[in-house]
Symmetry: C2
């Protein structure tokens, strides 16, 4: 038996996901909860990045994390070890989360409590999650150095909808010497001229302070508007 | 203007993809063409692995490659440089290929010519491509070391349907020191006890001879049955 709370979320029966997402965003704003939707390929380092960021922010913000996967509960378990609340969402084979699925997770995770920063770690996938508004306050993605600097050319929608792109595993740049930071910036900004780009190494903690500053400002702005 | 042939493939209008896939497989068997469906996350090294493998096999087998992506033609361009025929398939935003889309690509690429080995490089995605039979003779996937050894736990279907799993970027093992070859083998075999597992480094060419041997045997077996 797992000691991690696992929710089997059901796909929306509503045709209009965009309306549902807007409703969820309005509810989150009323409650003063900033929801970050974090996306990436499988294995880009979403959970490690979250762990590092939670370590920096957990004494100043109340944080709660939803870990979405098709199977397993390893990620929710990792997040629980940081001391913040976390649940595992199982998508029943689905390749993404929609607003209705996100709401089910939030209902279980947050209930009526005051949460400053809720984070949805989406299913590892650069295609489908980009097509569904989860109701989040902002979208973030991770591109890791070993994946290559050409990914914005191949997965245009994902890069165009993200407010912030984290370039992870920069410690591996010497091994992956065909990856150019200059070229990846050009490729990202071609898809989204307003994207904030933050190079990080979740393993060593490099750049996590910049990400924490960005999140702190986003949460403050969300609460003040 | 691109000098790479780009096909905008349309999603199937047929409800029964499995029947279409079986039909395509039968046609390929009649023609003596072995079709490999190659899948992975974005950036695991599909195109580099193909380039290396084509270098080994192109003088003994006639080879043709279909590169599927949502956008761009960089991969087909890379394959064309090896001297074999290649086309780029654009999926119109779709996260996978079905048998009907694969057939459209083959019709353009192979026509009536004798091809021993056709390869479909699927959209970079560990979820959706696993759900659709493309009509291929065999399924292959790449898991690269930086993605982590826990991926079979999170993406069970993909690992269960693949005849061969290539573990790529083994040159990066010293940097990604939490990746255990023993643990990844256990996790893969838990999902699929019959999977062939081949460690490779597409960058240096290590292990590509083993993959070429496997492919050579598969093609010979396909033609003899």
């Amino acid at each position: 038996m797992s000691d991690v709370r696992v929710i089997e979320v059901k796909q929306s029966v509503f045709a209009d996901n965009d309306r549902k997402a807007d409703e969820l965003r309005a509810t989150l704003r009323e409650r003063g909860t900033f929801l970050l939707n974090l996306m990436s390929s499988p294995g880009s380092g979403k959970t490690t990045t979250l762990t590092r960021t939670i370590e920096v922010l957990k004494d100043e913000l109340s944080i709660a994390v939803m870990e979405a996967d098709i199977d397993s509960d390893v990620d929710a378990r990792t997040i629980l070890n940081t001391g913040v609340r976390a649940i595992q969402l199982h998508t029943g084979g689905m390749c993404h989360l929609d607003a209705y699925m996100t709401e089910q997770g939030l209902d279980e995770l947050v209930r009526e409590d005051a949460i400053d920063l809720a984070i949805l770690e989406n299913v590892g996938n650069l295609v489908c999650p980009a097509e569904f508004d989860t109701g989040a306050s902002a979208n973030a993605m991770i591109l890791s150095v070993p994946e290559g600097d050409d990914k914005p050319l191949k997965y245009p929608l994902m890069f165009s909808i993200c407010d912030v792109v984290l370039i992870n595993k920069i410690d591996a740049l010497p091994v992956f010497d065909t990856f150019s930071m200059e070229r990846v910036r050009e490729n990202i900004l071609m898809r989204n001229p307003n994207a904030t780009i933050i190079p990080i190494c979740a393993k060593t903690g490099e750049g996590i302070d910049v990400l924490a500053d960005w999140l702190r400002a986003q949460v403050a702005d969300w609460k003040s508007r």
